[in-house]
């Protein structure tokens, strides 16, 4: 009986469980006006983030050095968008998608093809007009990928999605109409003129882009949250927990899995749209596989299946490298940015070992984990 030598799997320590529940419990027990006030306060604070550098003492510690702070905030906003979208696929529906950046690329390239003056289409649409088209195309690409692959089990799905993203990247690199590394220049920015007659969305100041990005994130989060609490969300939960049982209970698994894919793809495409609108120039170098893996790491580290966790994870994977940029390390005298992936790797292992459900765990998932622990406890 060699397995008896193994220590029994530790049950959730009560300390952590209590902690996790107290913050939420406290918030949940507040009367609704107080809750609303807190939420509003947080949102106002989020919109004021670009001015964080002016806050004495704390501000300069937080803002980025080597990269413009509003730009860093905007980067965070589209990473958060991607994390929220991927969370629908991975966290809610439990399908492992290793090629999420593919949808981001589809959104970006749709905008570029429709709007840029370099494009073979010569349509030169304004950015805003391209937004719904790009989201629709991304959604469609999600359906196209999902339809043949959803029969596949978890790990096979992972490698196929990875292949899908690589196909998109290589096509972007190599197909002449997508211009590869030369890229598309002159992608128009979002519309609007300020009172002084200058465009609100210029190239020098990224603050308006952050506000736009934040607004989009809020809208998407509200939509996804509603969906999660609807019949669709409960179906996803059932599929994630036990697909066969769900099928037997009358959940149309294929339909809801396709839904998850399509919604995730649409959000990813929206992220690409935002990126293209701010960047003004895009080329194939952005859509590498490591990007997909980074976003997945953000979702899982933040707390797979939990929107707040996805937001935190998405923000961190963008913020930490940007914060490290422009800081010289004392030992090797190189930019700390060099070590970003190294630090990420360590953080990923540590978080997964000490907090397997992520920084902000999903409540449903923690219960699930406890169940698992109970199931195997006797062995």
């Amino acid at each position: 009986m060699t397995t008896l030598k193994e220590p029994p799997p530790p049950v959730e320590t009560p300390a952590r469980a209590v902690r996790a529940f107290t913050v939420r419990g406290w918030f949940g027990q507040l009367p609704w006006p107080a809750r609303l006030a807190i939420i509003l306060l947080v949102l106002v604070g989020a919109y004021l983030l670009p001015y964080l550098g002016d806050v004495p003492v704390i501000g300069p510690q937080i803002v980025t050095q080597g990269i413009d702070w509003p730009s860093a905030l905007f980067n965070m906003s589209y990473y958060v968008l991607l994390a929220v979208g991927l969370n629908v696929v991975v966290g809610f529906a439990g399908m492992l998608d290793l090629g999420y950046v593919g949808f981001f690329a589809v959104g970006t390239y749709t905008v570029a093809l429709l709007c840029s003056s370099d494009s073979v289409t010569h349509t030169n649409w304004p950015w805003l007009a391209a937004v719904p088209v790009a989201i629709a195309v991304a959604m469609l690409s999600g359906l196209i990928l999902g339809w043949p692959t959803l029969r596949l089990r978890g790990d096979y799905l992972a490698i196929v999605t990875l292949g899908f993203a690589e196909i998109i990247r290589i096509t972007a690199d190599s197909a002449s109409s997508l211009r590869g590394n030369k890229g598309f220049t002159d992608i128009p920015h979002p519309p609007g003129k300020g009172s002084d007659g200058k465009a609100i969305f210029g190239v020098v100041d990224a603050t308006p882009y952050f506000w736009l990005g934040l607004t989009v994130v809020i809208l998407v989060v509200l939509a996804v949250r509603n969906l999660d609490r609807s019949r669709v969300g409960r179906s996803w939960l059932a599929i994630r927990e036990d697909e066969e049982a769900a099928e037997l209970m009358g959940v149309r698994t294929i339909k809801y899995k396709l839904w998850a894919f399509a919604i995730g793809a649409a959000v990813g495409g929206l992220g690409g749209v935002m990126f293209a609108g701010e960047q003004g120039f895009i080329n194939s170098a952005t859509f590498v596989l490591q990007f997909s893996i980074l976003v997945l790491a953000g979702v899982v580290m933040g707390g797979s299946g939990n929107i707040a966790g996805a937001i935190l994870g998405g923000a961190l994977i963008s913020y930490i490298p940007d914060r490290l940029r422009g800081i010289t390390d004392p030992v090797f005298h190189t930019d700390l940015y060099q070590f970003r992936f190294l630090l990420f790797g360590v953080a990923m292992i540590l978080i997964m070992i000490f907090r397997p459900q992520g920084l902000i765990p999903s409540r449903r998932r923690s219960m699930e984990l406890k169940d698992r622990a109970k199931e195997v406890a006797p062995s």
């Binding site: 590869g180 020098v204 004392p330």
Partner: protein, 387 residues
């Protein structure tokens, strides 16, 4: 309990790292000395880390040498050189560029170093009115976007490509040429120019993955060997070019490999091995740094302990053009830009005059061919005509 402790310790450690690094940062910002010509900033913009960082480091070293020499004359910390590391990435470039744009005392950019990041960052510098002189971004389209502050201190690929083709036709006298590129903005553009000029001498072409995306080139190698080509031009950077050369030699191919300025780096021989690299031809759309006028070569060696690399001298000249402008009292960005439009500056690498689109005056274009010697170092071979 133990986990709580670990978590708390981890949090403290992260805070300490961030606070410590912030402290490092604030101390490095030293106060500038006073004086009408002092207190201004120039910036290097390009890759200092990443897979093609060698070129960026050459450029940064050249620019830093110029600024240091200026400060020796005008007092320590008179002019500050910001080093903006873009990793050569288009995704990173805009944020880094906006960070520079917020600096009120910034008068000029030496860079951006690569063509791709230029396309992403130059609109920002142009909008902010900050003059830039790129010592190395050679994609021809950059000067056609109407950016008023863009200047290029070297020839572009429209000149470099035909020069390579001329070398193949006139010096190598090759009858069968194979052309491949890495699909980068730079590599593909250059390869297309070479192909156009060579015409029917091209017996085959192919495309590879970009830098670091492909290591096994056996199918390209196989095609080159099968085509019977005696010369092979690769449009791309030194790493891929070197690995390709090595695998070609392994496969028994005995022809001459050629590359543009992206291959003109000791990194080429480091990847290929000296034996395989020897005899390869690489070009440079400027005069060789080793032939720079005056004491530049010895001064550079004294400061950095290495020979000046590709574009070190051009970057040195670019920085000196800005410094000359500051000396002449052009201490706003618009005055500096006007100053550059009329400049006729004799530097160590060339004499610089710019056209209205910011290109180097056609009479000043120089293209040099280098031959890699038995120690893997590209040595200046001859100047090649561009037409």
């Amino acid at each position: 309990m133990r986990q709580g402790l670990v978590r708390a310790l981890g949090g403290v450690a992260i805070l300490a790292v961030i606070a410590g690094s912030a402290a490092c940062n604030s101390t490095s910002k030293s106060s500038s000395s006073s004086g009408g010509k002092c207190g201004y900033e120039l910036a290097f913009f390009g890759a200092l880390t990443g897979s093609a960082a060698n070129l960026g480091v050459n450029i940064e070293h050249g620019a830093e040498l110029a600024v240091d020499q200026y400060n020796d004359k005008n007092g320590a910390n008179c002019i500050k050189l910001d080093k903006a590391d873009s990793q050569g990435s288009e995704q990173v470039a805009p944020g880094v560029a906006r960070n520079l744009v917020t600096k009120k005392k910034l008068l000029g950019i030496i860079g951006p170093a690569f063509s791709g990041e230029s396309a992403a960052a130059d609109p920002i510098f142009d909008q902010a009115g900050i003059p830039m002189i790129t010592p190395s971004a050679t994609n021809p389209t950059l000067s056609t976007k109407g950016w008023k502050t863009f200047h290029r201190a070297v020839a572009n690929d429209q000149n470099q490509g035909p020069a390579v083709a001329n070398y193949i036709k006139d010096v190598l006298k090759a009858q069968k040429v194979f052309v491949a590129d890495d699909q980068s903005a730079y590599g593909a553009g250059l390869a297309d120019q070479v192909k156009a000029k060579l015409g029917s001498l091209v017996v085959g072409s192919d495309k590879t993955g970009g830098d670091g995306q492909q290591t096994d080139f056996s199918s390209v190698v196989q095609k080159i060997v099968a085509s019977g080509a005696t010369a092979f031009f690769y449009g791309g950077y030194y790493t891929n070019a070197g690995v390709l050369r090595k695998q070609l030699t392994q496969a028994g191919w005995k022809g001459v490999q050629l590359g543009g300025d992206g291959v003109n780096d000791p990194g080429y021989a480091e990847a290929a091995g000296n034996a395989a690299a020897a005899g390869s031809i690489v070009t440079l759309p400027a005069q060789p740094a080793a032939k720079a006028a005056g004491d530049f070569v010895s001064q550079y060696k004294a400061k950095w302990n290495v020979e000046p690399g590709t574009y070190s001298d051009t970057a040195y000249d670019a920085a000196n053009m800005f410094l000359k402008g500051i000396d002449a009292g052009n201490t706003t960005t618009s005055k500096m830009n006007t100053f550059l439009s009329t400049i006729n500056y004799e530097g160590v690498g060339n004499t610089y005059k710019f056209t209205s689109t910011g290109e180097l005056d056609p009479s000043q274009l120089k293209i040099w061919a280098f031959k890699v010697d038995a120690n893997g170092v590209p040595q200046p071979d001859q100047q090649v005509p561009t037409t």
